[in-house]
């Protein structure tokens, strides 16, 4: 029998040196924005984020934006491409040419969530198109998950569309929603019906604040159900693009007070952070076997 090395080495990346921290990067390709994070990884509990940025796609080619965002993050971190030990992609990043490896969204959001809040054992990643509730253990190993179906209702893209109809910016959503005094609930199942609901509300003279809070309430209802179905309890970290929407966070807290719903200022970067950290983990695992792979130099 021929012995085959499962992961043959290639030149291009510096070999990890014992006792020296690794340099890794994570690139999260989302459907509305690209997130990149650069890490100095000194081993478990000694990881430090050197840079983290978000760049909206604005109808540009995701791969081009990924490359630009990655380079910007490296510049912010003061790190050369060739010095990276591992570049990990996540989200829709399977096609990013300079990746060393790719990890799936659940895997990376779990790891990113644990980095941002070591006490959490559940994250809910609310992105432009999908929402995933993920349970994990203290090592960020995914223990279970639930995700929304293909319909975009209750996702960031849906909320953005509503903003356009209402003539408000994304940044205004949270404060307007928090100011609501009589929220109007809308369909929580179908984006088409929900949009019709909103048009009807506008023609009935319902205030923008009450419309937005109504939308938040119906979205929050879905997300909380997702978390409960996944088996989440206690502290939950919201990650992904909608983690910055204070109105939505409040609606989720109001929908289920048994869950401790939180967000971190870097929650939007959780996927990229998790990818970078798992990249470091893999670089070490490969190094233990005397192997290394090209780290972003290609």
């Amino acid at each position: 029998m021929t012995a085959i090395d499962p992961h043959p080495a290639s030149s291009g990346a510096p070999a990890p040196e014992p006792g020296r921290p690794l340099l890794t990067a994570g690139v999260d390709v989302g459907s509305s924005s690209i997130k990149a994070a650069v890490f100095e990884d000194g081993g478990p509990g000694r990881e430090r984020m050197l840079a983290g940025i978000v760049e909206r796609l604005r109808r540009r080619d995701p791969l081009e934006v990924a490359e630009v965002t990655f380079d910007k993050a490296l510049e912010m971190a003061g790190v050369e491409r060739g010095a990276l030990h591992y570049v990990a992609t996540t989200g829709e990043g399977e096609h990013v040419p300079f990746r060393t490896g790719h990890f799936y969204g659940m895997t990376t959001h779990a790891r990113g969530g644990l980095f941002l809040d070591p006490e959490v054992r559940a994250v809910i990643d609310i992105g432009a198109l999908h929402t995933r509730a993920v349970l994990m253990d203290g090592r960020a190993k995914v223990l279970g998950y639930r995700m929304t179906s293909q319909c975009a209702s209750g996702s960031g893209q849906f909320l953005e569309n509503i903003c356009r109809y209402l003539g408000v910016t994304i940044q205004e959503i949270g404060p307007l929603s928090l100011a609501a005094d009589a929220p109007e609930l809308c369909s929580s199942i179908c984006a088409v019906l929900a949009e019709t609901d909103v048009i009807n509300m506008v023609s009935r003279g319902v205030s923008i604040s009450n419309i937005l809070r109504g939308i938040h309430d119906s979205m929050a209802g879905r997300y909380v159900k997702l978390l409960v179905a996944a088996g989440a309890s206690g502290r939950v970290l919201v990650t992904g693009g909608l983690s910055r929407d204070e109105g939505l966070l409040q609606a989720m807290r109001d929908a289920n007070d048994a869950l401790d719903i939180r967000a971190h200022p870097d929650s939007i970067l959780a996927g990229a952070i998790g990818a970078a950290l798992w990249g470091g983990f893999r670089a070490r695992k490969l190094a233990e076997r005397g192997l290394s792979l090209s780290g972003g130099g290609a």
């Binding site: 029998m1 021929t2 012995a3 085959i4 090395d5 499962p6 992961h7 043959p8 290639s10 291009g12 591992y86 399977e94 096609h95 990746r99 060393t100 490896g101 790719h102 990890f103 799936y104 659940m106 895997t107 090592r139 190993k141 995914v142 798992w278 983990f281 893999r282 695992k285 490969l286 792979l293 090209s294 290609a298």
Partner: protein
């Protein structure tokens, strides 16, 4: 050749292979017939002794279904909804005239559905040679071997009556040598993929193997070698950190190319598979392995079937042997996990799966399973499943969790 030159040559070769794969009118077979005036005989998966056809001047043509590119209009009327997709697309190809260039069809014993299809073919195409190839399930030379030899002689007689060259021992021996060379070339390419899977993406390998269903074997051997040389010269290909997978269960109805691409883009390197199984059905050379034994060339072919055939789901052999063989393939290929990727309603693959799973579990080899049809067009669920399986192997394999 320069790096850029090698990349261009490879791109042009792949374009040709894609065109062969997409052409469901079998234009290359029609051209061959016009050029040579020979007979062309189609065969269904999984295995037919192509050497016999070749020795009689007949072009063996693999008919692996309609894939994801043909619309089923009449085929659905022939099969119930709980039957796999392959026979309905094959009969569609027959009824829409795509297979008119074939002078006959061989239906190797695979399952009841294929047997049923051979009967339909007889009724629909009474002027063509239609033959259900009953392969032995008793592997004793004096029982199954004698039966199989009789079957092959019978087919040879039918082909000769339709204008093929009479079967001749020297010609058959020469044809076996030609196919042995092809098997070595194919094995060499698979070996390269086992060692350096980033050089040989599995969708490309699939296209190379599929071309062997249409082209004369000599041409296919050259093509395999040309592709191998081209990928070795392509400096742009570099390794990624992906989990190494063995994919099994796809020996009959073929997975859509998009599914194979999805698996590799999802973070898996396929390092062994059973796609287009006829190429690797016989392990090793037929001539070398049987040369010391007495008998003629036909005996060599019979012995190869009995003794060198892969322990596949369509052979009625000890389940332990199939499980042991799968575990050995995992070890030989350096695979870190197994993907059971079987067509929906494929009785042979799905009935064997629990036994194979038992063997993997006993050996501590992780696995996942899903089903497809040849015309599956949405791969999001498979992408998620394969991707998270690859993640779990990369992060937790050997972690004691």
């Amino acid at each position: 050749m320069t790096g850029t030159g090698a990349t261009t040559a490879l791109a042009s070769l792949l374009q040709r292979l894609e065109a062969l794969h997409q052409d469901k009118t079998f234009g290359v077979v029609r051209d061959w017939k016009a050029r040579t005036g020979g007979l062309a005989v189609g065969f269904m998966p999984v295995y037919v002794p192509r050497e016999l056809l070749h020795a009689m001047g007949v072009l063996p043509v693999g008919v692996l279904g309609g894939g994801d590119s043909i619309e089923i209009i009449r085929g659905d009327a022939y099969y119930q909804s709980y039957i796999c997709h392959l026979p309905r697309s094959t009969i569609e190809l027959g009824l829409n005239g795509s297979l008119d260039c074939l002078d006959g069809m061989l239906f190797p014993a695979t399952c009841d559905v294929i047997r049923n299809l051979s009967g339909m073919w007889m009724m629909q195409f009474p002027d063509k040679l239609v033959r259900y190839l009953d392969v032995p399930q008793d592997f004793a030379p004096d029982v199954g071997g004698a039966f199989y030899r009789h079957e092959l002689l019978d087919i040879a007689g039918e082909l000769a009556r339709r204008g093929a060259r009479p079967l001749d021992d020297a010609a058959l021996r020469a044809s076996i040598a030609v196919y042995d060379a092809n098997r070595r070339a194919v094995e060499s390419l698979y070996e390269l993929r086992r060692r350096e899977p980033w050089r040989v993406p599995s969708d490309e390998l699939y296209l190379v193997m599929y071309a062997g269903m249409l082209l004369p074997v000599e041409e296919h051997t050259s093509l395999v070698e040309e592709y191998r040389a081209a990928v070795c010269a392509d400096a742009a290909r570099r390794p990624l950190d992906q989990a190494r997978m063995l994919v099994t269960g796809s020996f009959c109805e073929q997975p859509p190319l998009g599914l194979i691409r999805t698996l590799e883009r999802a973070g898996c390197y396929i390092v062994d598979d059973d796609f287009v199984a006829v190429h690797r059905w016989i392990r090793g050379d037929v001539l070398c392995a049987g040369e010391s034994a007495a008998g003629d060339a036909l005996d060599l072919l019979v012995r190869a079937y009995l003794e060198q055939g892969v322990p596949s789901a369509i052979r009625y052999i000890d389940d332990d042997r199939k499980g042991r063989d799968l575990v050995e393939r995992v070890q030989r290929s350096g695979a870190e996990g197994v993907v059971f990727c079987a067509p929906s309603f494929c009785d042979p693959a799905l009935l064997d799966q629990p036994m194979l799973v038992g063997a993997l579990d006993a050996a501590g080899i992780p696995w996942t399973a899903f089903k497809y049809a040849e015309n599956t067009g949405q791969f999001q669920v498979i992408r998620e499943q394969a991707g998270t399986f690859a993640d779990s192997i990369k992060l937790w394999s050997g972690a004691g969790a």
